[in-house]
Symmetry: C2
Subunit: 253 residues, 2 copies
Amino acid sequence: MATVFAIANQKGGVGKTTTAVNLAACLAIAGRRCLLIDLDPQANATSGLGLAERPGGGADLALTEPDKPDGWIEKSPVDNLALVPATDRLRSADRLLRHAVDPARQLRQARDRLDERFDLVIIDCPPSSGLLPLNALVAADMVIIPVQCEYYAMEGLAQMLETLGRAQSEHRADVEVGGFLFTMYDPRVPLSDEIVGEVLSHFESKTYGTRIPRDPVLGEAPSHGQPVIEYAPRSRGTNAYVQLTREIIHGIE
Amino acid sequence: MATVFAIANQKGGVGKTTTAVNLAACLAIAGRRCLLIDLDPQANATSGLGLAERPGGGADLALTEPDKPDGWIEKSPVDNLALVPATDRLRSADRLLRHAVDPARQLRQARDRLDERFDLVIIDCPPSSGLLPLNALVAADMVIIPVQCEYYAMEGLAQMLETLGRAQSEHRADVEVGGFLFTMYDPRVPLSDEIVGEVLSHFESKTYGTRIPRDPVLGEAPSHGQPVIEYAPRSRGTNAYVQLTREIIHGIE
Ligand SMILES: Nc1ncnc2c1ncn2[C@@H]1O[C@H](COP(=O)(O)OP(=O)(O)OP(=O)(O)O)[C@@H](O)[C@H]1O
Ligand SMILES: Nc1ncnc2c1ncn2[C@@H]1O[C@H](COP(=O)(O)OP(=O)(O)OP(=O)(O)O)[C@@H](O)[C@H]1O
Ligand SMILES: [Mg+2]
Ligand SMILES: [Mg+2]
């Protein structure tokens, strides 16, 4: 039985891809059989693992031929980690899924086939509230909501929870909030602690204890096509994602 | 005759809203009659000026009733600066414009009415390549492309230029690149200069000389509902946007 996590937040640049790639890599290195699905047409998770985007034959097929995973799952450079690469065709998701009976439940149909092969599935989402993040939410058991320690990111949480509510009510998704995750946390910037305080006052029980610090190596690692645990194993960025991985494994096992 | 700028980049969190709000405010304070259009359903530019989002009667009307601007333009707290606030209805832009003859050219139809009243129009876009940024590109004379000094943001430039090319070829847009704008530039982070060097090697003639430094006041100002020139008038963030404003005025007058 695989546990499926969506990494979602319509606010842009909050650390969704950085969390998806590094969490998936840490889980794989901890011995779990992992699949990373890149549902973002920007294909950042794909290039973050050193692989190239291509026109089709990846995440677009996961949505249009969910019952044939051999056609869209491929190896990644990290042991125990497989990847469904983003493709250009994702850019017109509405057109891609126009003939589907229930366009929001396409990815969920792949669940049975994934349960046999993987322990964990991580889905990276684009910065939107459209059909792609909706497919991820409907397919997932839990959603991790990265919260950059900035004002606009905090304000966006209401909209993110509305999107989640719509997935549950209109599309029968049984996804729950796995947790809010503070990213780019910098205790030297007063706003960081203000945001943390504000979010904790509403969602403390649903917030991960791990806070991802602002660490330049997290920005450098993707330019080398590597997860941070391989690029800078002894960095604060790596320590934080290792700690988050422990927290998540502890929560599901 | 108004000059219309779109602020666009499908990469999330690169400083589109921060640039839209602060450029519009600096132009207004420099005595130009300005209009800021918030085309992002996140409504960050709207709240960055201290105003609240609402269900309808703002940017959604600019798209559906472009010939009746009195219905969607309102005052902002800054002299010389009017605002078209984002509204919830923007979230389903495809549905909103499904009856339009040419959904991509709706906002452009408002141009004539805006030319009489304003010197400059600034349009903030959401992080996508969909119908909303397309309307902004088709309506605009120039596009400002904020480039965060990070690897994923640089990689995304190819896709941004493709979107621009499609607007020009498929929707007869005559928008040109006004310039690439480096944002969150931090000379202490080696990657920053690497990214700058890479972008300049391809687009030097189209890159603004002004670089916006990483400055925490740019993150704090929106939480006070003010542009940075009002929140922290003597800061590096304010100096950079004042310099950018001079560079832009010099380019168009
Ligand atoms: N903790 C961190 N410290 C420093 N830099 C970070 C950190 N987390 C992410 N970054 C960098 O910040 C930028 C934004 O992060 P990322 O691209 O992961 O966000 P995202 O939410 O996936 O963006 P999008 O909305 O475009 O999909 C990237 O350049 C990334 O390398
Ligand atoms: N030069 C800067 N220095 C420090 N912080 C900045 C700077 N520019 C923007 N920020 C902050 O970084 C975050 C991202 O910026 P902003 O929201 O303007 O980007 P965006 O491209 O509009 O994002 P989205 O893709 O979600 O629309 C915001 O919290 C903003 O306050
Ligand atoms: Mg991303
Ligand atoms: Mg924005």
